[in-house]
Symmetry: C2
Subunit: 305 residues, 2 copies
């Protein structure tokens, strides 16, 4: 009973389409139903076979499903939960892929009937692309899926969901809800905001032409533009819904940045050298952990030739 | 007379080794001599054939060269110029690969005899790797080399050097010295400092374990660690020698970051959404200009499977 028979995907973007493709790759036979806000997305998802059936509403899509995955922006989760609550099958598991967990728990839980299992998840995988055609089966391979089970969750239901993510290629880790939001703010939310900011600064410099920024971007800047090309709605919702942790990390960031600026201003080369030496070590750890390629420039150079 | 007969490389790291390999790829027959501070680097460069002859001192390495390329950290350029000045061949061209131009001009020019051509360059190409074994022939392909000729420079000598960079694969653009330093601070220096800062913050968060930072880094953070793995000596010198432009851009950065933090704090979703939509456009321009791959996640995902 480790697999599900009917999986409903609410929202049909990068994450949902990758889940569908990874399920098929894993040989899962489950029926997949789905819905999305836009008619175009629903049509595309059906046409390219991401779902067996598509519905105009989330309420219809979840009927009979034993696993419902909310793949919508964090800010839409509450509304969807309210809509589907009365239509959920008894014993169904409901999870989500939101990048924030406390806000999702608060928005979703009140709408869940007593006879279902609401178990939050955050598969930490993605790209800067969005939409139903952006998905691919390997998205979760060797990436981590953080699950933040709630005190009332049934152990068997949690294990079953964990097995589902593992079958899709992910490593699963259990984590407390608020600790998740702090960790996510450090390794994902603050880096995204900083990338958006740097790109905004370069775009707004009157004394540097846009063609200069674009043509010479390989000197470092272009790395930031990838992250800053991520879906605006998704990220607006992330920041609005993980406000305190994000602001805390950004406060730390500003403090460190000021210390480095001060070292530049006062000509403290030793401070800079020591700082840059420490940060070099962490990349080695990430490569050793199999979380990034060791190829120079992310392996881009080969590709460009 | 567009090619050089004897090229001397002072410093034998990533840039010098890539120049040597790109020269050979272009079919240039020039003799290549070189030197580096460390005996190990000199031995390696000779062993892997980056140079035809290696010397213990820059003064010896430049003798008879009609092109001398200073490939050392910006902070070492003045000392090297002082050392080689008396040994330069009459009519030789001296250039450099420094990421900062005003400071290099001020450090090098006073030591140049009247009968040579000192023409600053900045090939904007590199990776996070360093050392003589990090080079590869394609490093400059479709990247930009900014040249900042000085008022006294001979037109023919400038054109000849421009032809050299072009033969190595680069696009060449002429730029005024101080404007170069501002452009470089926006597209390279500030992004590097910000990446170093973000990595430093994550490394210093007591409430988030280092294993958490490392394992979950694919959610955005790992992009910053590549840049923050760049050579500490080189980057210390860049910041100390492009202080004013870097601090100006960082000032703009802090201002923008505060505006975004304020929008998060006050819940101004429209401000965030509009900002994130604008920054998305610039990535498209960079891809259209052939300055980055359009493959999701820099094409890393394929490689990991």
């Amino acid at each position: 009973m480790s697999q599900y028979n009917h999986v409903a995907l609410i929202g049909l973007g990068l994450l949902a389409s990758s889940i569908s493709l990874a399920m098929r790759r894993a040989g899962m036979q489950a029926q997949i139903t789905g819905t999305a806000r836009s008619q175009t997305t629903r049509d595309t998802a059906l046409k390219i076979g991401l779902v067996d059936a598509v519905f105009d509403s989330a309420a219809e899509a979840v009927k009979g499903a034993d696993l419902v995955i909310l793949c919508a922006p964090v800010g839409a989760m509450g509304m969807i939960a309210e809509e589907i609550g009365p239509y959920l099958a008894k014993g169904a598991t409901i999870t989500d892929v939101g990048s924030v967990k406390r806000a999702v728990v608060e928005a979703v839980q009140p709408h869940m009937p007593d006879n279902v299992h609401f178990i939050p998840s955050h598969p930490m995988a993605g790209t800067e692309k969005s939409g139903p055609e952006a998905g691919f089966a390997a998205l979760f391979d060797n990436r981590w899926c953080l699950m933040t089970p709630l005190p009332e969750n049934d152990h068997t239901a949690v294990q079953r969901l964990s097995g589902f993510w593992t079958a899709l290629g992910a490593n699963v880790e259990m984590m407390e809800v608020d600790h998740h939001d702090l960790v996510a703010s450090v390794i994902s939310h603050a880096p995204h905001l900083i990338a958006y900011t740097m790109v905004g600064v370069a775009d707004g410099m009157n004394r540097v032409a846009k063609t200069e920024v674009v043509n010479y971007s390989a000197a470092g800047f272009r790395d930031f533009t990838r992250i800053a090309a991520s879906d605006p709605t998704m990220w607006r919702d992330v920041f609005l819904n993980n406000r305190d942790a994000t602001l805390e990390v950004l406060g730390r960031f500003t403090e460190e940045l000021f210390a480095l600026q001060r070292a530049i201003r006062t000509g403290d080369g030793d401070f800079l050298f020591d700082y840059f030496t420490r940060t070099r070590d962490i990349r080695r750890s990430i490569i050793d952990a199999g979380q990034d390629t060791d190829a120079p420039d992310f392996g881009r150079i080969k590709e460009e030739n």
